[in-house]
């Protein structure tokens, strides 16, 4: 703690040359933030309280919460919102479990050709969305797809016939979401490798088996990385822009909320209604993120409370 304060003092002393160097250096981002984020966000917020219709901009009036109330009363909007959030919530646990499992495999000391294996496990995460969709559609194709012919067929399971149906579509979506876990997997793996081996040896002497060691030592120690991955995946699923994000790849099949917003804005040109839909979605997502941050102190392990950047 004292060392930290000293460095900070030295830093301030050393770099106190001209007060506004920092501001000048970050000015590209600051300008970009105001122009590409803040102004669009505020104007979309203002738009969402009006009945702005692109073909008759002159008649625009302030309508208060009208758009929001209409959207929340509309049964089809509620269904789409519910389905989108439910789908995202079912994807994230699967993604986290798979990330932890793969990270454990890849940081295991018995693994041969570590670098090649890591690259191969990471590979699906860099596949362009253009390739991604059709690759999975080909894979689950009822007649020629390998999913039926190689896995479901020999196991005697009824072959997936209605791949365009909603259940099969959701299953496919969850399954294919495993192909976006690369960055999170590597981050958890890095955290696993950073655990000192001595504590494992001590536990080994005490007679703890591999599974017990994993559950009681490895897992709690990597919770910070798991939390980071959770935020990463959550943001990606809800359309934020984090590392290697591909967005909702299957949105047209699932008529997710994205699709509804784009339809309202770019087909019916009702900008007021469209932006209010986007804001409703955003509020739900933010509520979720805030809940996660608030509950994080109960399950995320922080070694030193004062070590925060």
């Amino acid at each position: 703690m004292r060392i930290l304060q000293q460095t900070k003092a030295r830093q301030q002393q050393a770099f106190g040359e001209w007060r506004y160097w920092g501001l000048l250096l970050i000015s590209p981002w600051l300008i970009g933030f105001v122009v590409f984020k803040l102004i669009p966000i505020l104007s979309s917020l203002v738009l969402s309280f009006t009945d702005f219709y692109l073909l008759e901009p002159g008649k625009t009036e302030f309508v208060g919460f009208h758009n929001y109330l209409v959207a929340l009363k509309d049964a089809s909007t509620r269904v789409v919102l519910y389905r989108t959030i439910l789908l995202a919530l079912s994807i994230i646990p699967v993604q986290i479990a798979a990330s932890i499992f793969f990270a454990a495999l890849l940081s295991h000391k018995k693994l041969i050709a570590k670098n090649v294996m890591r690259t191969l496990f990471f590979l699906p995460s860099i596949i362009p969305s253009v390739a991604f969709t059709f690759m999975w559609q080909g894979f689950v194709d009822p007649t020629s797809g390998w999913l039926n012919r190689l896995i479901l067929g020999p196991l005697g399971l009824s072959s997936l016939n209605h791949f365009y149906g909603r259940e099969a579509g959701n299953a496919l979506f969850i399954l294919s979401s495993l192909w976006t876990i690369g960055p999170g997997m590597l981050i958890i793996m890095g955290a696993m490798q950073a655990i000192p081996t001595e504590i494992y040896e001590a536990a080994h002497v005490d007679g703890a088996g591999p599974l017990k060691r994993f559950l009681t030592m490895t897992l709690p120690l990597v919770t910070p990385a798991v939390f980071f991955t959770l935020i990463l995946n959550l943001t990606a699923v809800f359309g934020g822009a984090i590392m290697l994000d591909r967005g909702f790849t299957f949105n047209s099949n699932l008529s997710s909320f994205d699709e509804l917003v784009y339809f309202t804005v770019f087909r019916t040109f009702k900008l007021g209604a469209g932006t209010s839909l986007a804001w409703i979605f955003f509020i739900f997502v933010m509520a979720l993120v805030v809940t996660l941050f608030v509950t994080s102190k109960y399950w995320v392990y922080y070694p030193e409370p004062e070590r925060r950047s």
Binding site: T7, Q11, F15, E17, W21, G22, L23, L25, I26, P28, W29, G32, F33, V35, F36, P40, S44, L47, F102, L105, L111, N115, V116, R118, T119, L123, P124, I126, P128, V130, A131, F134, M135, G138, F139, S144, W146, L147, L186, I187, G190, A191, P224, A225, F228, T229, T235, F238, G240, A241, M243, L244, G247, V261, T275, A278, F281, F282, V289, S309
Partner: protein, 350 residues
């Protein structure tokens, strides 16, 4: 003698390592199965895709030449077993076959629908799908567009993000950490919120529909994720070196280029790779601002996406996915060690 001592050791080592690695290979095989499936389909002929009995690998039915014409071989069941016969006259109820072993015996009549028969297959790669693709899309022009977008974008995003990250890492800012928290918060905001106003400013105010400005311009104002990654890395470099440079009279930019950057090129490479993968994938912004008919500006991913939506032949579509995949996969394998180390550091620094 040495051999005798080494062999049991090696055997034991293999025996202790093998079960675990077999498990990993099985998991990997299942995980990457759609990629293998795609590769196989991309090399299949359209006939094979329609043939239920065909193998999973790209193949064609073996042919037999009889009186100067080629006939396909099928496995025909008889009382005594199954014989590979050449189909010379297909019929719904009964068909005529020739036995390649005894062609002089003449045609054999077999009762039953020939479509229920399984062919005699041999491994054969059908490159035609790729030929069709290369004839229908202007690949040199598309690659040139993509390279232009990626190059300009890389320069813009790297220069602006590095400057901003240095500002966040080493200088005191008005408002303290608040600006940094805003930076983090912007990462979490979905595009949806900002898409609508930005779209109408670009299209109605600036008339930028059908140009590359909406794709390239925002990149020159830094990217919050990259700024965060670079800042975390810059902060881990000891300040002593910079102090020494300062005593020699080096200003902030000089210190950034001569002290900070030489020590942080792994993270700079990671960021530029992340941006490369992102731009190679980019179709969302392109599909909003570029017209689908004008090929002269199209980056490769968007052009292939447009092409795929117009062409419902599965094997050609899979061939196009193979083409779009090759470049990022090669880049990933060339840069594997550094890139993955960079991503790991990202999480560790949090």
């Amino acid at each position: 003698m040495i051999m005798n001592k080494q062999w049991p050791g090696l055997f034991q080592k293999v025996r202790s390592l093998l079960p675990f690695n077999l498990l990993v290979w099985l998991v990997l095989f299942l995980y990457l199965l759609p990629i293998l499936s795609m590769l196989a389909t991309a090399m299949m002929s359209t006939e094979q895709l329609g043939d239920k009995h065909s193998p999973l690998y790209p193949a064609r039915i073996v042919t037999y030449s009889y009186h100067g014409k080629d006939y396909q071989l099928y496995q025909v069941p008889f009382d005594g077993g199954v014989k590979p016969l050449a189909l010379i006259k297909p019929g719904a109820k009964s068909s005529q076959f020739i036995d390649p072993q005894h062609p002089e015996a003449g045609p054999i009549l077999w009762k039953g629908g020939w479509k229920t028969l399984t062919g005699v297959y041999e491994f054969h790669i059908n490159w035609q799908n790729f030929t069709i693709l290369f004839h229908s899309l202007p690949f040199p022009a598309m690659l040139r567009n993509t390279l232009f977008i990626i190059l300009v974008g890389e320069i813009g995003v790297l220069v602006s993000s590095i400057l901003c990250a240095y500002g966040f890492a080493r200088f005191s800012l008005p408002g303290g950490n608040l600006i940094f928290y805003i930076l983090i918060a912007t990462i979490l905001i979905p595009d949806k919120i900002t898409t609508v106003p930005t779209y109408f400013v670009y299209v109605i105010f600036f008339h930028w529909r059908g140009t590359l400005y909406p794709i390239l311009l925002p990149l020159f104002f830094g990217n919050a994720v990259y700024i965060f990654l670079l800042r975390q890395n810059f902060r881990s470099i000891p300040v002593d070196l910079e102090e020494a440079a300062m005593l020699d009279g080096a200003g902030p930019l000089r210190r950034l280029f001569s002290v900070i950057l030489p020590q942080s090129w792994p993270v700079v490479v990671t960021v530029s790779l992340l941006h490369f993968f992102y731009m190679w994938n980019e179709t969302r912004v392109a599909s909003l601002y570029l017209t689908t008919t004008d090929l002269s500006l199209m980056p490769i991913s968007f052009a292939v996406q447009t092409y795929q939506s117009r062409l419902p032949i599965q094997n050609v579509i899979e061939a196009s996915t193979v083409v779009i995949l090759i470049v990022p996969v090669i880049i990933l394998f060339l840069s594997q060690r550094m890139f993955m180390q960079g991503v790991i550091v990202t999480g560790a620094e949090k």
